[in-house]
Symmetry: C2
Subunit: 633 residues, 2 copies
């Protein structure tokens, strides 16, 4: 099973040297560019790449290094609800949870995570769906809370593996999933059944309900799965649209449904519960942006995630209200606004949005450029404006750039560089530090507390977040009245059961498969620790190939050994070091040839690598990976 | 000129495999461990490593790749003050500025920066002192504002290169510099002349004064260099110890000296001026820590930078006041507290500090452990507590861990992992997000504004920070009344002149050498872009060595080619890919041997690398560095 060639391989042109590193074939244009020194995390604001050439055909490598996929976990007992957070509970991202009872499995969300510092060279990290693959026939449906990549990103890579179950979600989310699937060539097209938040559906033996929640993308919803012993409630990503701590009427109404419900278990977003108080409500951000738009005297460049669709819609609305023209610069942004217009959640006149080429026809103070790249993404619109490679837009000192986003951990340097570039050209920059131009989509502690008070669960399982975040959320739940024994903090793959007909919560000693599955190029495979270790070492120390050609008859080197190194030290400045290394090589190989194991090239190679490593370490305090090549002639 | 062997090379033991990666020889124990996947930035809280074995003998490589060091910049005119921010103005770190007039050069600070994502494998980044090396005879002294590494870290690597000038600084800073020099074997010992903040000294033809400023380490000071046309004022790192925006009496007194002075130019810290309002004053942090200490019912672990010496002193004081015992766990912390005690800025009873081994003799609620590692540093005390490898300390659910620090950009993942590990063991964690247990040492916008009002400079040069930070500071200065034409925003190496006897400020078109100088192991050299590019590529893509042995007579491969790869793909799972690659190798080499250039091994190698690269890219979408080895026999 090796990866198949992509349908339109790049780098086969007439040039002798490999072309600049291509984007992953057909990777959706709103994904992180693989060539970036640091993969970025977290949003779909990754447009503006060169147009993709072909659809991705996903290849799957077998998991050969670990226990078999069908690890024996017997089905849950008849009086038991089994809940398995497959991933997303030791990180922020790749959310996916399975709930199983009465012979049915229901899945909630199917996200991926962007690669970070611990997984160099990897594109995305997927949930491990080994448990599900061995139980495909029980899967009754995949329920999706909203359309962000940490909730839908895994679908193209996973849906085939788990038997292509029906996807249940709201209109906009469904559109976003479908749009994304267009970038992949799937054996079977995904099946989506649109639901509305007030709808009640029957899946397998269970009744399933939905409720609207506040997040940063429209059509976000929570999910209620009715078990025989009460509701299992998933909030999805959630915050409150509060006014000085008072939730909106709409939220009060949505959560009103819990007044008379018997909630067995709550599974809830924990991302920002460790932040005290209330988060800035999105309405405050809208007010701030409205003021900036209303009062702007020069060109305004507003950069944000395309996934912050609610805010995007508001900006378009304000623009129209104050007679401004909009340039949309960034493919993901354009796509999202088009989807939103198509399903009617945004309305604007055709002449409100103008082409970037026609920008010069309008007075500066009437122009708003909506741009992607607020995270410093190397190929996004704003980066190109910053480094003066944008085809149409050059900054002017009267321009104002609004970075309507926070800085995702890991992106600080990239954003700093972006801000440096923008301010070097004289633009005025407004960030969320000094102005309420951004708010998180995840609620703080007091918002979580209010939600707990509405839902009043018997059992609590914090999800979405690193362990510390879950732990803080668990502490909050305890304060809110859930007994400590009724709380289970999961790890990825934890098999949690509510047993005895809703009597007690138990974490089984056995785990569902949870080794990392990763996407690299178009290939899905299990993460190789060896590969990661080597890449980290190479990225710091480089490598050194030493080639010795030995004359079998004389046991002596045929000629002076060759040394080829990359990423180690700058060889041109270290001639003497190289000369000394050659002596070490000669000595090591000739000695190996003289000893009783003479002719045992493996041993000679091992000796050679060791001698050279040790010598280079003593001279340079570096540990390049040494590859010994001994050719015996 | 190649690096000399360290005096006690490691890795020469009897083991066959290289020992675990050593720390840089004799690098001060409070530096970042080189083995860490991500080098950390910013503080001296890096203790607790295995004890160092020998002193570092710094080796210097010639700058061979760029223009000569003695780049021709004529001396400043007689009516001119020349100011060169050598570095620290395109980053946070490695602060060093030169000021030159009347035939004298004065230097302010000599810091280094920790390596970041753009310089993989590098330990530290130094100011480029090429300009000074060509003008050693003019250097009258090195003035140091305070003892943090971004102000003193460069000294052991630079002081010899610039002719070992006298260092002028206050007592504690001098002690910190001396302590650090003990780790290096210098040809000539550094010369330190202690000054006091109210002292007036004469250097060259200039009078120099000092004034006390608030930062996070005692003995921080600003510097006034009197030029014939007014004062050049350096604030050093600075914040205000304000109460609701009202500076302390001490600060009012210190800045009172500017009432009757004629300030020609202000060079001021810009690090946090982009943050609105006032920073949290350190006194608030002390109150918070006092309350936590007073009320703690279990063991308290307080983690912070050893460089936050003021705060460290307060914690020791509170501990004694509330009858607690202190365990100091972390070498840099112990060193700093000892220095502080030696010079009398902290006093405590001998029995207040107890040995970690004796901890069990005291009731939990009376114990405070001062630990390093709040940034997630892999080898620091707190990390070892977190991952249960600490020799003496195991966490208990009644423990409280106070992370008395912010998270330095780039360290988020490491700190997250630390918090996850700590909370997995049940400890309660207090961070600066939910409690005022940390404040920055750099003032916000309104603090900067107050300082500007006191100093009232004619010309303004923002220093210490990324360009965006300097720009925001420049905008503030303009608001405070400095005309735009009197403000110069420097880059590293900018030659700024105040000409015509204090008439106007000019940025010369020529720059002082500003290529990056870096420390890797014990070697100082100019940064190699090629090396960095290779390391970044290797860290994502790995490499592949292909070895073909060719029979010169037949022009055919002698045997099946060898393929050795690391960091590329997991070979064991890609046998078919390797087999196909062997075919490509055979085809490429045999073809090369058949063509008119037959025997031209260089061309054959080039062809081979290209064929293999292209093939691997098409199959895997990865671009490993391909090293072709062709042996002709």
């Amino acid at each position: 099973m090796i990866p198949q060639p992509p349908q339109n391989p790049q780098g086969r042109g007439p040039t002798r040297r490999p072309a600049p590193r291509p984007r992953p074939h057909g990777a959706p244009a709103h994904h992180a560019p693989r060539a970036a020194a640091r993969p970025r995390f977290g949003s779909s604001a990754r447009s503006s790449h060169p147009p993709r050439r072909s659809k991705t055909r996903v290849e799957h490598q077998p998991d050969s290094r670990n226990r078999p996929l069908n690890v024996i976990i017997p089905p849950p007992a008849e009086d038991t609800v089994r809940i398995i957070p497959l991933s997303g509970v030791e990180e922020v991202g790749r959310n996916m949870t399975a709930i199983e009872f009465g012979g049915d499995i229901f899945l909630v969300d199917c996200g991926f995570a962007f690669s970070e510092v611990d997984t160099p060279g990897i594109d995305y990290i997927l949930p491990n769906t080994g448990y599900l693959e061995a139980r495909r026939d029980k899967i009754r449906g995949l329920l999706i809370t909203h359309g962000h990549l940490d909730h839908i990103g895994g679908i193209p890579y996973i849906i085939d593996r788990i038997g292509n179950p029906m996807i249940y979600t709201r209109k906009l989310t469904g559109m976003m999933i479908k749009k994304r699937q267009e970038e992949f060539s799937q054996t079977v097209p995904v099946q989506i059944r649109e639901v509305e938040k007030d709808e009640v559906i029957r899946l397998g033996k269970a009744t399933i309900r939905f409720f609207g929640v506040t997040h940063t993308v429209p059509d976000s919803m929570g999910i209620i799965i009715e078990t025989p012993w009460g509701d299992a409630v998933f909030t999805g990503d959630i915050k409150l649209n509060h006014l000085d701590g008072e939730p909106s009427d709409e939220e009060k109404k949505e959560f009103g449904i819990f007044k008379n419900r018997n909630v067995l278990a709550l599974l809830m977003d924990s991302t920002n519960v460790w932040q005290p108080g209330f988060s800035i409500p999105e309405s405050t951000v809208y007010k701030t942006l409205e003021n900036i738009i209303k009062n702007s005297k020069g060109r305004l460049i507003v950069a944000m995630f395309a996934s912050h669709l609610e805010r995007l819609i508001r900006v378009v609305h304000f623009a129209e209200e104050y007679g401004k023209k909009i340039v949309i610069d960034g493919r993901s942004m354009r796509t999202n606004i088009e989807i939103a217009r198509e399903i009617g959640i945004i309305k604007y006149r055709d002449d409100t949005v103008i082409a970037v080429e026609n920008m010069e026809q309008y007075p500066k103070e009437n122009l708003i450029i909506l741009a992607t790249g607020a995270q410093g993404d190397e190929f996004a619109s704003l980066a190109r404006i910053g480094n003066k490679t944008h085809k149409y837009i050059r900054l002017q000192p009267t321009d104002t750039v609004v970075l309507s986003s926070s800085v995702i951990p890991g992106n600080e340097r990239a954003v700093q560089k972006l801000k440096d570039n923008l301010s070097r050209q004289g633009a005025h920059i407004i960030t969320y530090h000094a102005s309420d131009v951004h708010a998180s989509g995840h609620g703080n502690r007091e918002e979580a507390a209010w939600i707990h008070r509405q839902i009043k669960p018997k059992f609590f399982i914090p999800i979405h977040g690193y362990h510390y975040m879950l732990r803080v959320h668990a502490d909050l739940a305890e304060e809110m009245g859930v007994p400590a024994d009724n709380i289970a903090i999961p790890d990825n793959g934890s098999v949690i059961e509510i047993q005895g007909g809703g009597e007690k919560i138990v974490k089984l000693p056995v785990k569902a498969p949870s080794e990392m599955r990763v996407v690299e190029g178009n290939t899905v495979s299990q993460l190789s620790d060896v590969l990661m270790r080597d890449r980290k070492a190479l990225g710091q120390e480089g490598f050194c190939v030493v080639v010795a050609t030995i004359d079998r008859r004389t046991g002596r080197l045929h000629k002076s050994p060759d040394i080829i190194s990359r990423g180690f030290v700058y060889l041109r400045e270290n001639k003497e070091l190289m000369d000394q290394t050659r002596l070490i090589i000669r000595k090591s190989v000739e000695q190996a040839m003289r000893n009783p194991r003479a002719g045992d090239l493996d041993a000679a190679r091992e000796d050679l690598a060791e001698s050279v490593s040790r010598f280079l370490l003593s001279r340079t305090m570096k540990r390049p990976i040494v590859i010994p090549v001994i050719v015996s002639i």
